[in-house]
């Protein structure tokens, strides 16, 4: 087992990484698993799996409630994980890290609370055309409730925002009515890395609150919330090697203090009387009920696991896989890549003329290859590109060039069967 205090491993060794993921030994339809669906959920290293079960086996107790030893140990472990996450995203304070069930819950919290705090009839919420449904629908609900309007930044043919740093279109996105900007850092469908820092800076000049969906960014890059300058940043544990059911909403302290609570219940209160309730201090004001303690501890362990590596070296490996996949997939007749931005993470979406993504995904699965098919919870984006869905391969540091080749060969076989 890797010691979490050891030095960062600067030499990237894919076999050393693979050895830490027990699931990679599983056979699917009798064939070795080729797991290329990491943007849906990443696989988990042994350390993370062990951390979750060790919690249940040795210190399971409710947090922030008991005076007994186990409760203290569980609380300490949970708060240590919060501090680990704080350090990872460079937040100023640990209490700026709110644990949620995932990105979806984080954005719902943000939209619901900010809606109540800020939105009035005639106000505008600005999003982009490449958002995941989780960064569309919560804002639609908030807009409906408060009479605000949702405005959308269009997307280019290459899968980038139709605004550039050099022209004034970026500035023109903001009107006197714009209250919130909600944008994805990285597109889950296209892999595009968006220049969010520039847009956030522009939004700030206009006094607009900025919310970032970072679910697809955080597994692949350094995220420094202070450097980005965003007000809120949402992400999930399960896409960054942590368990499912745990996520984070980072929020700037001053804003979180102003935001009303989203859900009420235990642990989020200070004093409750039937006349009036006062709320707990941050972060507990936003953490009603018993949290997913094992998930939080698993998330802390996943972050420590990631920190044992040079994340840039991991990203460079994923980029090599992306370039290889892009080159090889283009040899498939009639294949069109959806999302050709200059800056991409290891995500490649494609359609093949005359081949339905359901058929392709099914025949790849028969060959042991796991990809995602469908609209990827981005129906407006699918409409933008005039497709009903795509097939998407998404890479993790444990993937290999051989696996990319296996996918391309399997795709060619499937196309032959289908045509």
């Amino acid at each position: 087992m890797t010691n979490s205090t050891s030095a960062v491993k600067t030499v990237f060794d894919v076999e050393e990484i693979r050895a830490q993921f027990p699931i990679l030994k599983v056979l699917v339809h009798g064939k070795p698993l080729v797991y290329l669906d990491n943007a849906a959920t990443s696989q988990k290293p042994r350390r993370v799996i062990k951390a979750g079960s060790a919690y249940y086996a040795t210190i399971n107790a409710n947090v922030h409630r008991g005076v007994h030893t186990l409760s203290t140990l569980a609380t300490d472990a949970q708060e240590a994980a919060r501090e680990t996450v704080r350090g990872h995203i460079n937040a100023r304070h640990a209490h700026e890290v709110i644990f949620t069930s995932g990105t979806t819950a984080s954005i719902n919290l943000a939209a619901s609370s900010l809606g109540q705090l800020l939105l009035k009839p005639g106000d505008e919420v600005l999003i982009t055309g490449m958002e995941h449904h989780a960064n569309i629908v919560p804002w639609q609900l908030a807009c409906e409730r408060y009479g605000a309007t949702l405005k959308v930044i269009p997307i280019t043919e290459s899968g980038e925002w139709e605004i550039s740093r050099s022209d004034d279109r970026m500035i023109r996105q903001f009107t006197e009515h714009t209250k919130v900007l909600a944008i994805s850092h990285v597109s889950n469908t296209l892999g595009t890395i968006n220049p969010i820092k520039e847009l956030i800076a522009e939004a700030k000049k206009h006094g607009v609150i900025t919310v970032v969906d970072g679910a697809q960014a955080i597994p692949h890059m350094h995220v420094d919330v202070q450097d980005l300058g965003c007000d809120l940043y949402a992400f999930s544990g399960h896409k960054m090697y942590a368990p499912t059911g745990i996520g984070v909403l980072y929020g700037r302290e001053e804003l979180l203090e102003q935001m009303p609570p989203w859900q009420g219940g235990g642990e989020m209160i200070d004093q409750v009387t039937f006349a009036k309730t006062t709320y707990a201090k941050l972060p507990f004001k936003f953490e009603a009920g018993t949290p997913h303690i094992a998930g939080i501890i698993g998330l802390g362990e996943a972050v420590r696991w990631l920190q044992d590596y040079d994340i840039d070296a991991m990203a460079a490996h994923e980029h090599t896989l992306l370039e290889h996949a892009t080159k090889e997939l283009r040899t498939v007749e009639g294949l069109r890549i959806i999302g050709t931005a200059k800056e991409k993470v290891g995500v490649i979406s494609f359609v093949i003329e005359g081949v339905h993504h359901y058929d392709l995904g099914t025949l790849l699965d028969q060959q042991g290859i796991a990809v995602r098919t469908g609209h990827h919870c981005t129906q407006p984006l699918m409409e933008r590109f005039g497709v009903s869905g795509t097939t998407r391969a998404s890479f993790a540091p444990f993937n290999t060039i051989d696996e990319v080749d296996a996918m391309v060969a399997a795709a060619k076989k499937a196309v032959k069967m289908l045509r």
């Binding site: 339905h356 993504h357 359901y358 069967m417």
Partner: protein, 156 residues
């Protein structure tokens, strides 16, 4: 009324697939079946006939056919009704599954459709396509076929 029972029709399919070797043969057979499926009339490929599936789409129509119209003397005079289905899908494998379901359930009485457990998809090793995870419209289609059978059994 069909010459074979629904159960016999299922068994025929199981026997056909038993002769096939690996996954590739099974899926090639399914794809061929999909290609053979008589397409639904274009005017019936409407949103109204669309059976919701997330990954692939299925269209289904059902028409009651009274066997008295067919001048079948052996059915008696009570007016036996069978259901005639047409269907299509935008995905080939789904279409193959749709073709199998139509082949088994087509032109049968509502009572036979509702009264015979469908086991063949399981028995030919394609059960995974009925998983809710697939969201391919096949399960929704089967539900819809049974709903039509319920409606027409109530009418007769």
């Amino acid at each position: 009324m069909m010459d074979t029972t629904l159960e016999q029709a299922q068994q025929e399919i199981v026997d056909e697939f038993a002769m096939l070797g690996d996954w590739q043969d099974r899926y090639e057979q399914l794809i061929e079946l999909g290609k053979e499926l008589p397409l639904i009339a274009p005017e019936h490929k409407t949103d109204e006939n669309l059976v919701r599936g997330c990954q692939s789409r299925v269209w289904l129509t059902a028409e009651p056919v009274s066997l008295l119209d067919c001048a079948r003397s052996d059915t008696g005079s009570s007016g036996t009704t069978v259901i005639h289905f047409t269907a299509d899908s935008d995905a080939m494998i789904t279409k193959g599954l749709v073709a199998l379901l139509v082949r088994v359930l087509n032109d049968r009485t509502p009572e036979e459709i509702l009264g015979t457990p469908l086991t063949f998809i399981d028995r030919i090793g394609l059960r995974e396509h009925l998983s809710p995870n697939r969201s391919n419209g096949v399960v929704a289609m089967l539900d819809q076929m049974k709903r039509y059978a319920l409606v027409y059994s109530a009418k007769t």
